[in-house]
């Protein structure tokens, strides 16, 4: 059980990357990027997890009560905000691409090369 979250994080990272590399649809691609990012959430939370620890709220509990690490949770929240911003921007680009050029296939986005 101890290593399961790390394995999940690694799996999410790789499967998301695979999705991006092979993607034929921009919406799919943006979602794959989110999948890669969700691996970072899992990893961060796993690192701060403590077997039997309570939520990191230190009111009305005796000093020394084991609690999970609040720092990584704060990092995860920040990370979620960053992810939402990037996804929104990328989806807007995808919508624009579809509106203007009628395609969502990155293979046909070939204005820039060589």
């Amino acid at each position: 059980m101890r290593y399961l979250p790390y394995a999940v994080a690694g799996w999410l990272f790789l499967v998301g990357l695979y999705g991006i590399v092979t993607s034929r649809n921009l919406i799919h691609l943006v979602v794959c990027l989110s999948v890669v990012q969700s691996s970072t959430y899992v990893l961060l939370l796993a690192i701060g997890y403590l077997e039997g620890g309570s939520a990191p709220v230190f009111a009305d509990v005796p000093v020394g009560t084991p609690a999970v690490d609040p720092v990584v949770q704060a990092l995860t929240l920040t990370d979620v905000v960053v992810g939402v911003t990037v996804s929104a921007l990328l989806l807007a680009l995808a919508v624009q691409e579809h509106k203007r050029f009628g395609t969502l296939d990155p293979d046909r986005l070939r204005a820039l090369r060589e």
Binding site: A111, L112, R113
Partner: protein, 606 residues
């Protein structure tokens, strides 16, 4: 605790928020004035910080949470001369770009100016912070503002693709950095750079340390556009509005190198045998310089050419810091500033060409630039600056790096330095000679039409003259890049700053214990030796010759021509073909590069 360091970050963010709130109420002129004044104010503040930090780290602990018993509980900004200098460069480029945008660029609403200010705040924050997680946050903020600015002309196809490739690859780079941060936090329980450094000092390079270092370095190399992480850069720098391109070409990718240097020296340099990373960084640097140079020379689209010049020179900077020596680091810092100013100058000249002549294609513009003598002079001079002609700051920085390479027993790197300077400057001078002097002739079938056709004019109104506000920033930036080589005692002061940057225990002591850093004595004054001068002048001459040679290559004997085509043509075509413009391919390269980096680091560090 100084109240000064947060201001260069806070002021542009607050102004950006106010401008967004005021929205359509703000007239364009006011928008220009306010945002330019903000950038100038940030530049002044960074100048003050630069001066203060010469006497020791300038620290700011947010909320007054200073370290307790040597343990960082709060978040700090720790300003050293290099950080302040980078922030100053970013602010100066932003100011120049915003002045340029006064007359140049049609915008609707305040969004363009707001994004420029957010980008500036993020660049300043990234330079000044002493906290690893804050580095990630500013890295991402810088990224998001830059993606949006890249795709600003969203109605065209190029900006859409450039912004998309940029956003996907750099987000992946950001995730690599974040995973690296998570692993290092799991190992040390710290996010403060000084604290991490203390925790890792003297530790062996075990699997976790190697993995976290790999991910952090790979993430920053994505931003720094090192081969094979560089693909996004050419696409992203080709398409944004010219004022944005000025900042991109001047400084953006260099922040990846600053991040790499900062994290290595403050956090990881105490790890046992950490300096073995040198050979890996040098290998990536050389590959980047070579690929960037070849691609730059093969371009006819001026913005894309400058993008690959940026890649090539990013490789030189990576070599400079990868040598892990004081003198080379000082040289890299000077080179970065001067080279950034010169590249920004060139980008502005390209913007003027687009304004006056409605094209940025070298071939289409053949001889048509003769009507623009001032722009032409600035462009060609900047091209010589790119070659490292003394007394440009680029020459000084390059010489310092070459000296250190020779002293470190890798003198052959001088060939890479000179070769890269000659080829990249040769490409720029070739374009300049063709456009502004009318030399050479058209190259049938060489124009990549799909790129050129997409370049829409960004300005309206009369275009029979160049408004001074377009040329003034170019001249100012060129003068800045030139005069950096003439500032008295600059090399010595940069070496002191570099020695402090490399001194991890002193940094940790200053941050965590408040012990003033020991200031190293200034080395003996730097003097140009004849060999270095000859190398600089020779490089510039070589670049000019290369430019002329490629313009008049049809006059060479047929045998020579055929031999060159046979030997170089296939290689160049292969390298060009790899730049497919497909984000999936770029991601595959990124994965491969990270794996290669990890394998190499595991080999050398363990």
């Amino acid at each position: 605790v100084s109240p000064l360091p947060p201001l260069p970050v806070a002021i542009p963010l607050v102004v950006a928020a106010l401008l967004t709130a005021a929205g359509p109420l703000v007239r364009r002129r006011l928008l220009d004035a306010v945002s330019t004044a903000t950038a100038v104010a940030v530049a002044v503040l960074c100048g003050i910080l630069l001066a203060r930090s010469a006497g020791g780290l300038v620290l700011h602990w947010f909320g007054g949470w200073t370290p307790r018993r040597g343990l960082a509980v709060g978040i700090d900004l720790a300003v050293d001369p290099f950080g302040a200098g980078m922030a100053l460069l970013a602010a100066a480029l932003s100011a120049g770009a915003l002045v340029f945008a006064w007359r140049y660029f049609e915008t609707t609403g305040p969004l363009f100016h707001v994004l420029m200010l957010v980008l500036l705040a993020a660049m300043a924050g990234f330079s000044l912070t002493g906290d690893l997680f804050n580095m990630f946050v500013f890295f991402e903020l810088m990224g998001v503002a830059a993606y949006a600015l890249t795709g600003y002309r969203i109605e065209a196809r190029g900006p859409l693709q450039g912004s998309l490739n940029f956003a996907v690859t750099n987000s992946l780079g950001g995730f690599l950095v974040l995973i690296g941060i998570a692993l290092v936090y799991g190992r040390t329980g710290a996010l403060n750079l000084a604290q991490i450094g203390e925790a890792l000092a003297g530790e062996p390079a075990d699997g976790l340390v190697v993995a976290s270092l790999t991910l952090l370095v790979a993430g920053f190399l994505v931003k720094a556009a090192a081969v094979p992480f560089h693909f996004w850069l050419a696409d992203a720098y080709t398409v944004p509005p010219t004022p944005v391109g000025v900042i991109f070409a001047g400084a953006l990718s260099e922040f990846g190198l600053l991040g790499l240097a900062r994290v290595y020296w403050t956090a990881f340099s105490g790890v046992e045998g950490a300096e073995a990373i040198r050979s890996v960084l040098l290998a990536f640097g050389v590959a980047t310089a070579v690929v960037g140079s070849v691609m730059a020379f093969a371009q006819f689209h001026l913005k894309r050419m400058l993008a690959f010049v940026t890649v090539a020179h990013s490789g030189l900077l990576l070599i400079g810091l990868g040598l892990l020596e004081t003198g080379a680091l000082a040289g890299a810092a000077i080179y970065l500033a001067a080279d950034g100013a010169v590249k920004a100058t060139l980008f502005i000249c390209v913007g003027i060409l687009l304004h006056r002549l409605r094209s940025v294609d070298e071939d289409e513009l053949l001889g048509r630039g003769r009507r623009l003598p001032y722009t032409g002079a600035v462009f060609l001079l900047a091209g010589l600056g790119l070659a490292g002609l003394p007394p440009f700051g680029t020459a000084l920085g390059k010489t310092l790096m070459e000296h250190e390479a020779a002293a470190a027993g890798v003198g052959w790197l001088t060939v890479v330095f000179v070769g890269t300077a000659v080829v990249t400057a040769g490409a720029v001078l070739r374009a300049g000679a063709r456009i502004f002097l009318g030399l050479g002739h058209e190259e049938p079938g060489e124009t990549p039409a799909e790129v050129a056709a997409d370049e829409e004019p960004e300005t309206r109104g009369p275009r029979n003259r160049t408004p001074p506000v377009l040329l003034v920033p170019a001249i100012a930036l060129l003068a800045g890049g030139l005069s950096l080589g003439l500032v008295p005692r600059l090399a010595e002061r940069a070496e002191v700053a570099a020695a402090r940057f490399r001194d991890r225990p002193a940094y940790a002591g200053a941050v965590l214990e408040g012990v003033p850093e020991p200031l190293p004595a200034e080395a003996e004054p730097f003097r140009w030796d004849p060999g270095a001068l000859a190398l600089g002048v020779g490089g510039a001459a070589g670049a000019a010759l290369l430019a002329l040679g490629s313009l008049y290559r049809d006059r060479a004997p047929r045998g020579i021509r055929r031999a060159t085509t046979a030997t170089l043509g296939a290689g160049v075509r292969a390298v060009k073909r790899v730049h497919s413009g497909h984000v999936g391919d770029y991601t595959a390269w990124l994965t491969l590069g990270t794996a290669a980096l990890g394998g190499a680091l595991a080999l050398v560090l363990r």
